[in-house]
């Protein structure tokens, strides 16, 4: 998973919630602090990532930063 793949999925969640798409994210972007994700948006994000990449990003605890999500997906946990 690339950072752009993740950005695209985040933007689907943002768009469905009626929010403005984000232009850029960096490895240190926090889903909750920077993007304001609540538990429902996090749940939607995790289901969408699992559908596409087969990895449950929260299976071993809550991750929050973009870097943590990419590491979890790319290590196939």
């Amino acid at each position: 998973m690339t950072i752009n793949n993740l950005k695209d999925i985040i933007n689907i969640v943002m768009s469905n919630a009626g929010l403005q798409a984000i232009g850029n994210i960096s490895e240190s972007t926090s889903l909750r602090t920077d993007l304001g994700f609540d538990s429902l948006k996090l749940a939607e994000l995790t289901v969408r990532i699992e559908d596409q990449f087969g990895v449950d990003i929260f299976s071993e605890g809550i991750v929050d930063r973009v870097e943590e999500i990419l590491n979890t997906v790319n290590s196939g946990k």
Partner: protein, 408 residues
């Protein structure tokens, strides 16, 4: 005497004379029977009831593993010799409600191991109408014949010597409407899901006299739409369970409990309980002080007389981070959106909120719709946590073996 056709099934037909011929040339039946052929299933049922023998029906969709879990005491599809006391077919059929047979069926097994329930034939058949007028009826059979609703329709048709037309395997609405016309079907019984798949349509019909809905929650919108399509039909909504058979019937979505049944049901924490004596026999049913917990959530409309509306199955309720979501309520809200033909709301597990509400949607092609349109429409209609987060546009909705919307 007229050689009435008892069953039209695809290209085959089975008449009163065929029944007499079978009973005069064959001397066996199957006590435990699994078949895909409706004619064979019906003939076997008649043989068993005519000779007061027990019969067990196994759903042809059951896997080998499920059959193994059914706890069968006799081998599947093993012939047993019996002697038929030959009589005219009309007499055999009119005597069916007096049969001392036991009929064993299974729950559909969609939520676990199939439960085995044994009913006394005479108790199951005692409420059927067998007037002469009923013999002119032609029934559209849409149900799986090995479950309660299907059996009810089969027995209703047989006991009143009317005609059955098997529509169970028909998937396209045009074929169903054509069969209704071609065979002169005037009685239809089906799940709300079956009827919803007939919409939208410009089809109308003056010939159908009765339209029955059962097995799932019905809504007023669907009931009213059916009244527009089948202009001369009486629309009946049935509450029935595999364990008890048919219990209540209503003209709309509100069931009224008659005074003679008022001591036989109670509602605790919105769940419907039935007195044990209303049920068939089963070692798989757990009772609480002679009450059976149906697993059905109901809404009480009035206390005296007791009136209720069926809301949902407890097992269908989706828990999203501690908030309870009734998938039927969400589906009803989705159906309000122009351009939606049918929807299926279900849960997807996740590690954040436990479950997330998702849905599959069939559109009718009249309007351009995407995920965002649907979510935004629902924002004014239902609570945020009830709104499906992942929406897929599909060609067909997954249904269970008994024709209900699949939830898991």
């Amino acid at each position: 005497m007229e050689n009435r056709i008892l069953l039209f099934d695809q290209k085959t037909r089975f008449s009163l004379l065929d029944l007499e011929k079978s009973l005069s040339t064959e001397s066996f039946y199957y006590p435990v029977y699994q078949t895909n052929d409706l004619t064979d299933l019906i003939l076997n049922l008649i043989k068993a009831l005519h000779t007061n023998n027990e019969v067990c029906l196994v759903d042809p969709h059951f896997t080998l593993e499920e059959v193994k879990n059914c706890g069968l005491e006799v081998s599947l599809n093993k012939k047993v010799e019996i002697d038929f006391n030959f009589q005219k077919a009309e007499i055999i059929l009119s005597n069916l409600p007096l049969a001392l047979s036991e009929i064993t069926i299974f729950t559909s097994g969609t939520t676990g191991i199939p439960k085995k329930i044994t009913h006394h034939a005479n108790k199951l058949l005692k409420t059927l109408k067998t007037t002469d007028e009923m013999s002119s009826k032609v029934w559209g059979m849409t149900y799986n014949p090995t479950h309660m609703a299907g059996l009810q329709v089969i027995f209703q048709a047989l006991c009143s010597r009317s005609t059955l037309v098997n529509l169970y395997l028909f998937k396209e609405k045009e074929k169903i409407f054509k069969a209704i016309e071609d065979y002169g079907i005037n009685m239809i019984s089906a799940t709300p899901t079956f009827y919803r798949m007939l919409m939208p349509t410009n089809y109308t019909n003056d010939n159908v006299k009765q339209v029955t809905l059962g097995g799932e929650r019905s809504d007023l919108h669907l009931i009213n739409r059916l009244k527009q399509i089948f202009k001369n039909a009486r629309v009946r909504n049935i509450y029935a369970t595999t364990e008890s058979g048919s219990l209540f019937s209503a003209e709309n979505d509100i069931f009224t409990v008659s005074s003679d049944k008022s001591n036989d049901i109670k509602i605790v924490n919105k769940e419907l309980f039935l007195k044990a004596y209303l049920l068939g026999y089963s070692t798989d049913i757990e009772l609480q002080d002679s009450w059976y917990k149906t697993g059905d959530v109901v809404e009480v409309i009035s206390e005296n007389p007791l009136q209720f509306r069926f809301v949902s199955r407890i097992s269908s309720i989706i828990n999203v981070g501690g908030n309870k979501v009734d998938p039927f309520e969400v589906e009803e809200a989705i159906r309000e959106i122009p351009g939606i033909k049918e929807s299926r709301v279900f849960a997807k597990k996740n590690s954040v909120t436990g479950n997330l509400v998702c849905c599959d949607i069939i559109i009718d092609g009249s309007t351009e719709l995407n995920e965002k349109h649907i979510i935004q429409f629902l924002q004014d209609k239902i609570a945020n946590y009830k709104i499906p987060r992942i929406i897929k546009f599909v060609e067909s909705i997954e249904v269970t073996r008994t024709g209900k919307i699949k939830r898991n």
